[in-house]
Symmetry: C2
Subunit: 626 residues, 2 copies
């Protein structure tokens, strides 16, 4: 089998090589002339000077009469001066001063006299109550230097200075070419094997956020000539070209070859994980980047390389990332070969930020949607210990993260429903929920990593839920449980129960799908096995572990397994039959000191609300206690 | 004269009254359905659940062959297993697993055997090298709750979950109606009395920055029925209506009356300065706001009231302002009657932020373009002392302000030119220059308020520039002067010198325009008066003070004065004649500790560059020294 090898260039080196070449090849900002009325947020290509003064004429600053100041000289209470109609002209605020006048007397200071005359008892000095020419801006003054991003007020100043059009830097047009034989346009009904093309939507959002215009090209199959034609067309119309997928060195990976034919490949393979198989190229003086097909890999290359390209072509410095220092919740091992991008969730509990690493799979887009930040582990660093303080790049505003209730532990969709009701209530905070199982909840609450932990832990000895576990793991107290719901656990099977499962003992003769170690449902499974005199070794699929009820249901629906333990609401979503096994007590573990936290209180208020009860009833399988 | 009085409602009270009424009147976010591909940055109206699993089929995670895992059981180096063509199917990464298979063997682990068979020496377990259904997302799982702002990754996740359309909150359409008889559309050639309409451009930029769509209506003259018709039309098409100007209680101020006729006026007059004459009204359940005509007043009402309207109608909490604590550079007196918005420039010198108040005129848009922040002085606070630490709302990113060279002192356009060349050089920092005169420069550098101060101070006793002043004000050293330029000072007169001015003595018989106290040019004027045996009292216009050379030139060009002292480049801009008086030494005063600051060094490098010399030559009147 043919196998070409990629480079593994340190990111800094890859970038400096690439950007030096691009600059030499003429990649630079270009300008266009736009009306100032629509120029806000654009960047000035050149310094702008006022064409006219503002005000551009001597303007009355008051309602009153315009006079020559000298006719008022000497006016006092004892020696009033009378103004005849020849001496004054009535003016409103903003009116130009008539020829020969140089001051305005306020209407309040005029005393009516006969024959249209006014008497005044105080003189005005020249230019009193007048906005003289140039008070705001003087013709020829520089209003803003080149490179200035136009604020609303600056646009106003330009117009006040008689500047109606201005040259600004063009926003680059970025062409995105999705490639791949199996790729299909977004649909809610894909056929098996169809891969929904969502990367271009992710790229569009990122690029527009950086100020670029985006043109997404049609999906192009894995044919070299077709992709080359698309790249050629994109080079005609766009300033930067991105080829999505096909950036590695496998059989159907054409991006590097095509760029080499049309221009120059500067880098093929960066010591970044995920994101290694990227191609950094140039053709016609324009950047052409080959992005990996896996969404998370592609996002990393977008952030590390393409973001700089967009800002450079806009003539702006790339903004620094917002970061926060956080305490790592668990040990993190990283390869010495790569600069690694670890998605983390962040929580601020008791004033301390903690960061918990999420899934590191390059294909798991949901790991990015759940992530609050990115921990960049440098190349040549083998990772961090739990408790180390690490800098985390923020993916959400800090303000939002500070108002986040952290709920962890056993998976139950009710937490998402409560989170949704909380958002609708306008409470002003969000819920971050992760699924680490009931035992994970005990650890997280105990170490101050979560406000709330969902638990349903069966004590095999007593048949009671939760109590003995809390006593064991919090021997000195400090944590309490708050009643949540009762819920039915059972065996999920395909519609019609084709394997004829009647009781838990039947799992020994079919393919089972299990939950992960530490999950309350796993503990229930082990308890039931023991009750039925079964051992894990007798269960086909005991090691097939999933993290949520819906994941178990999905695998049964797909035929990957015949049965698994879970809750009724998950079975209903997948139209599975459900064999009830037991009613269990799902509770929330809380550190006592957070019982009065407004977010915690709001969470329980919503949990007990009628709206929540209605949702749980619709989902099914819940016993709602008072 | 009729005069209606405005309320003077404390801002918090005005807002709570207004928003309570609007909520009761039904002002609330509304939704629309959009394609997920274009939904980035929009806010979800409802929670979104995955329609399908992702992956939605069991997908090969590798290139290799799909098998039923059980056929591989027992394979080892000593007991290899042979796979016949019936046992396997070739699959690429992403391919669906064929019916009856449940694992993939990587291509690297296959040993070629005869007749299309492969030998393997290790077993695979069920679901090895397979991305099982739902690995990323499970059907029925909530992808995001209502109120979530869609990130690029979330849009990707929605598409991966088979969601192609989604309901998001509508961005409000804000209608802006500019009113006024003298108002004209932007032009570079206005007639005397024409007031250029730039407020709507300022509003557009602000509103778009907050996520609104904007419709600017044609300029409407000060006729009540015309304005009412425009408001009625805007209420039909828009979600929020802003009427620009006419919000006070004068003769031609119709906004409040019109709103009262169409709906309800909740507030007329807020204890805010500038910005008091605002109208907060409601009609057809929609906010109608009357904005003051003065641009700075209007901007304050936009920030304080309209910003909240836009965010509320987008279903989002209004973002908090970014602030910084800064030391006030001089005493600030504020009225007890108003919450006052003072524009300040910010400088970070030696690690300390300082804030210097700028012009407080409501009509001076340039005070807003120069401002780096806003100091909000609460009602019932009479101001602050110099040296007080005050919170300042940022108008620019902190990053940008941290990379700002503060240049103050005597006005010379060369500073703007150097600033522009620095921006072009990509040095990555900006120059903030203010004009406080040469004596102001000495004070600012002495108190750590500026990096550089431009000075040209004539010692009447010695005829020398700057040296004796620096020795006097820095008796213990610590500051040095860096050579800038020689420049010609002279008398500016209208083209053709209509008053026949031959020498400085002639200023006694014409109208003069002077510079402010502390300006080097003012000191020169006083020196020349003394040399010519003249006193200030003999000079008509001695008290007419301006802050820049161009302002003096503008007034002479406008006929407000016959002559004034200034530099040649200003005279040239206004096509004035110039009678040279003397050559002076313009230098930069620097605190010794900043001589090696990279920004200071870059400034002087540019000042000495050929590009700068060329610009100075084009401006005229400069003697460029080495």
């Amino acid at each position: 089998m043919e196998h070409r090898y990629l480079e593994n260039l340190p990111p800094a080196q890859a970038k400096s090589r690439y950007f030096a070449h691009l600059t030499a090849a003429g990649f630079a900002p270009t300008g266009e002339t736009v009306a100032v009325q629509t120029a806000c947020a654009r960047t000035l290509q050149h310094a702008v000077y006022a064409h006219i003064c503002a005000p551009h004429y001597n303007a009355s600053a008051m309602d009153g009469v315009a006079v020559k100041a000298s006719v008022t000289f000497g006016a006092s209470e004892r020696t009033p001066v009378t103004l005849t109609p020849d001496d004054y002209t009535v003016v409103d605020t903003g009116d130009p001063l008539p020829e020969g006048t140089d001051a305005v007397i306020m209407v309040e200071d005029l005393i009516d006299a006969a024959d249209g005359c006014y008497e005044i008892i105080a003189a005005v000095h020249p230019w009193q109550n007048v906005r003289q020419v140039g008070e705001d801006l003087c013709m020829g003054d520089m209003i803003a230097p080149s490179g200035t991003v136009l604020t609303p007020a600056l646009c106003g100043a330009l117009l006040a200075g008689g500047v109606t059009k201005t040259e600004v830097l063009r926003a680059p047009v970025v062409g995105v070419i999705p490639t791949g034989d199996e790729i299909v346009a977004p649909t809610s009904d894909p056929k098996p094997g169809d891969i929904i093309e969502f990367n271009s939507t992710v790229f569009r959002g990122m690029l527009e956020g950086w100020g670029a215009n985006v043109e997404v090209f049609p999906i192009t199959p894995d044919k070299k000539d077709r992709i080359r034609a698309a790249v050629t067309e994109a080079l005609d119309r766009c300033d930067i070209v991105l080829v999505s997928a096909g950036s590695s060195a496998g059989r159907d990976d054409y991006t590097a070859d095509i760029i080499a034919e049309l221009g120059t490949v500067l880098v093929h393979g960066i010591a970044i994980k995920p994101g290694k198989p990227a191609v950094l190229g140039e053709a016609n003086g324009k950047p052409v980047v080959g992005l990996p097909g896996y969404p998370v890999s592609a996002i990393v290359i977008m952030d590390e390389i393409v973001r700089d390209l967009v800002y450079q072509s806009r003539g702006l410095a790339t903004p620094a990332w917002n970061t926060v220092d956080a305490v790592l919740s668990k040990k993190l091992v990283s390869s010495l070969k790569y600069q690694e991008y670890v998605r983390v969730s962040l929580g601020k509990i008791g004033g301390v930020w903690s960061a918990s690493p999420l899934s590191r799979g390059a294909g798991v887009i949901s790991s990015f949607t759940k992530a609050d930040g990115i921990l960049v582990v440098p190349q040549n660093c083998e990772g961090y210990e739990a408790g180390d303080t690490v800098p985390v790049r923020l993916l959400r505003p800090l303000q939002e993260l500070e108002r986040t209730l952290i709920v962890t532990g056993s998976h139950d969709p009710l937490i998402d429903e409560v989170a949704d009701l909380l958002r609708q209530s306008g409470a002003g905070f969000r819920v971050c929920s992760t699924h680490v199982g009931s035992m994970g909840a005990i650890r997280a609450v105990g170490s101050g990593l979560a406000h709330l932990g969902g638990i349903h832990l069966l004590d095999a000895a007593t048949g009671e839920y939760n109590k003995s576990y809390v006593e064991k793991y919090f021997p000195n107290g400090g944590a309490v449980t708050v009643r949540g719901v009762g819920r039915v656990q059972g065996l999920m099977v395909k519609k019609g129960n084709p394997c004829g499962i009647g009781s838990f003992a039947d799992v020994a003769r079919v393919r089972y799908v299990n939950r992960q170690r530490g999950a309350g449902t796993r503990i229930l499974c082990d308890y039931l096995l023991e009750q039925n005199g079964l051992t894990p070794q007798q269960i086909d699929g005991y090691d097939n572990e999933e993290f949520t009820h819906t994941a178990v249901a999905a695998l049964i629906a797909a035929g990957n397994a015949d049965t698994g333990l879970g809750i009724l609401s998950a079975a209903k979503i997948y139209d599975l039959d459900f064999i009830p096994i037991c009613m269990e007590t799902y509770e929330f573990l809380v550190d006592e000191q957070y019982l009065d936290d407004p977010m915690v209180r709001a969470f329980f208020d919503v949990l007990r609300s009628d709206a929540c009860k209605q949702r749980l009833q619709a989902m099914g399988g819940y016993l709602i206690e008072e």
